[in-house]
């Protein structure tokens, strides 16, 4: 007895082929149910005598039921897929914890002092309650703005040299190596450099806003160079050739074709570089110092900045301490908001400046 199947051979072959393509799969709702159960256990555990940490850990361990279940039903390949997916999501949530924690702490402690007065008054002649961070906001904006004015031309022109003129020769390789070394300069060293430089001109004990800008520029330049370099490299060579073939000199090709095409990326890179240095404390503490008054002159005397203000408010709060500590958190919150706004601006710029087209 070989077969009793009345269907023709062709149909049976087709069926065999199809069944060899099919595999066992977990139902679509499987991940949701496992994660749901794990989350419930985590919440219950956190509320019970286990405590938050152990409860969440228990819930997380429970989610590994999914790859094990998958291995039994689906086989090793899909089980590995689910395991790695689980690990990636776990790592993602782990990375979110410090971010969420910072935002929560800064907002919850800084919001209480936020008021129109806090943002528009300086600390001049204020003891105890009241006063504001107007002088520190202005100082941060001026010093960071000047740092940007110094570092963007240097950084952009360096990137243009490396990509458009150097093209892998020894000088450009040397510059790129030095830029990489510069990336690793600790911010305190940049501050000491700026201080040493200004002492040469103005003598010991010099304090100037522009010195802070120089220190921040030292930190910003390598970031601007590397991001602009990557953006310039992304401009297709065909555009350069198209322009050169029209009889346009190389410098005009760079100024009018290459840089405008890469502009969105360059501006985004610069904005992120600003966001990176705006929170630097150590170099500003050395060279820009701290003051209670508003100072709009970068070239004359101490200037307050938000990070230094937050540091001194919390380190030397005075008596009674709570008002000063609250103002420190308020400054931290303002700084965080400025950085968030800068990131938002970077997004908008790359959206509005990037070459338009239906591609």
């Amino acid at each position: 007895m070989t077969t009793t199947d009345p269907r023709p051979q062709r149909d049976r072959d087709a069926e065999e082929l199809l069944s060899s393509l099919r595999g066992n799969t977990l139902p679509l709702w499987a991940p949701r149910v496992v994660v749901g159960i794990a989350a419930t256990v985590a919440v219950l555990g956190a509320l019970s005598s286990l405590g938050v940490v152990r409860g969440v850990l228990l819930g997380w361990l429970l989610t590994f039921a999914l790859p094990i279940w998958s291995r039994v039903v689906e086989g090793p390949r899909k089980a590995t897929d689910r395991l790695v997916t689980l690990l990636v999501y776990s790592a993602f949530s782990l990375a979110l914890i410090p971010l969420g924690s910072i935002i929560w702490t800064v907002f919850s402690r800084g919001l209480s002092v936020m008021s129109a007065e806090f943002l528009t008054y300086s600390m001049r002649n204020v003891v105890g309650e009241g006063g504001g961070i107007y002088h520190a906001i202005m100082g941060t904006l001026l010093i960071t703005g000047a740092a940007t004015v110094i570092s963007v031309p240097i950084g952009l022109f360096t990137a243009i040299y490396i990509v458009e003129y150097g093209d892998g020769n020894r000088v450009s390789k040397g510059i790129r190596f030095l830029v990489d070394v510069m990336t690793g300069i600790p911010s305190i060293v940049a501050g000491l450099f700026a201080y040493a430089l200004f002492v040469l001109f103005f003598g010991e004990g010099v304090r100037m806003g522009i010195g802070g800008s120089v220190a921040l520029a030292v930190l910003m330049i390598p970031v601007v160079v590397r991001s602009s370099e990557e953006m310039l490299k992304l401009v297709p060579n065909e555009l350069r050739e198209a322009s050169l073939a029209l009889g346009v000199p190389q410098w005009r090709t760079i100024a009018k074709v290459v840089v405008p095409t890469a502009l969105a990326g360059i501006v985004t890179g610069v904005t992120l570089a600003i966001a990176r240095v705006i929170g630097e404390t150590a170099p500003l503490l050395i060279i820009a110092g701290a003051t209670d008054s508003t100072n709009f002159n970068l070239f004359d005397g101490r200037m307050a900045t938000l990070p230094v203000f937050a540091y001194t408010s919390i380190r030397f709060p005075g008596v009674p301490p709570e008002f000063s500590i609250d103002r420190g958190w308020g400054a931290a919150l303002t700084l965080l908001v400025i950085v968030m706004l800068l990131n938002l601006v970077a997004r908008l710029v790359s959206f509005f400046f990037s070459p338009k087209g239906e591609r």
């Binding site: 065909e238 050739e241 029209l246 009889g247 009018k256 074709v257 405008p260």
Partner: protein, 259 residues
């Protein structure tokens, strides 16, 4: 205003590597000359040496003479920028400037060189160039839209309009249709026929039928072996090269029994 080109004993190098060896060819004015030959035989390299675009690649240089109406392109006092204004080029892949509108793309040669023009004057140049490139009817209502929004064939015609708006003497085309469909290709071939009234046109193509359709003269390039330089095997009237070439290799290549 079109000019003839005379090339004698031209060797083209990339660094130390000799890419094309000993080219002698006369390209007549107001005609279409096609370069054919297998990939890597130096057609494009030779074409790019005709407007000094070759030396944009670091280390690339040439020996020999390229005379355009008796003037040596590679003479010491020649400025490559001026050479490229006289000898325009259309590339294999359409490359309109993504940051510019259609209007600005056509005027790119003038705008990038910051030439001051009256609005009426620039309008006239744009219309004339787009009409010559056969694109006017399709884009006249959306001149301010970005050039990269056009189809591939339209983009290539936009690039041709851009190249002829600076009124070059010679127009070099490096496989202008290889990225295009047959309909766009035939539009561009018709265009080449019209343009040769005014310009000297040199075109590189892998398409034998295209060479036969559009060109008056044909030059066949070949490699003598792997790692050896490319050479000009023979050149002459297109009818002769396609029907009764002097060299065995040319006939074999054209008939498709190559190697």
């Amino acid at each position: 205003m079109a000019k003839s080109i005379d090339v004698s004993d031209l060797n083209i190098y990339y660094g130390d590597f000799l890419a094309v060896e000993g080219v002698n060819i006369a390209i007549p004015a107001r005609s279409v000359t096609a370069f054919i030959g297998p990939s890597g035989c130096g057609k494009s390299t030779f074409l790019r040496s005709l407007n000094r675009m070759h030396e944009v690649i670091p280390g690339a240089h040439v020996q020999g003479k390229v005379l355009i109406d008796g003037e040596d392109l590679y003479a010491d006092e020649m400025d490559p920028v001026n050479v490229r204004r006289m000898v325009g080029m259309v590339f294999q892949r359409p490359n309109p400037f993504p940051t510019m509108s259609i209007y600005d793309n056509v005027l790119a040669g003038q705008k990038l060189n910051s030439k001051r023009m009256k609005k009426s004057e620039s309008d006239a140049i744009v219309e004339r160039s787009l009409r010559s490139a056969g694109l006017w009817a399709e884009v006249k209502d959306r001149l301010s839209r970005p050039g990269s929004g056009l189809s591939g064939g339209q983009q290539q015609r936009l690039c041709i309009a851009r190249a002829i708006s600076v009124e070059p003497e010679v127009l070099l085309m490096d496989e202008p249709c290889s990225a295009l469909d047959p309909i766009s290709t035939s539009v561009i071939e018709d265009l080449i026929h019209e343009l040769k009234e005014k310009y000297t046109i040199v075109i590189v193509t892998h398409n034998m039928q295209q060479a036969a359709r559009v060109s008056d003269e044909t030059a066949f390039f070949n490699l003598s072996g792997v790692g050896k330089p490319g050479k000009l095997v023979e050149s002459g009237r297109t009818e002769k090269i396609f029907s009764n070439p002097d060299e065995e290799a040319t006939e074999a290549y054209i008939q498709g029994r190559f190697g």
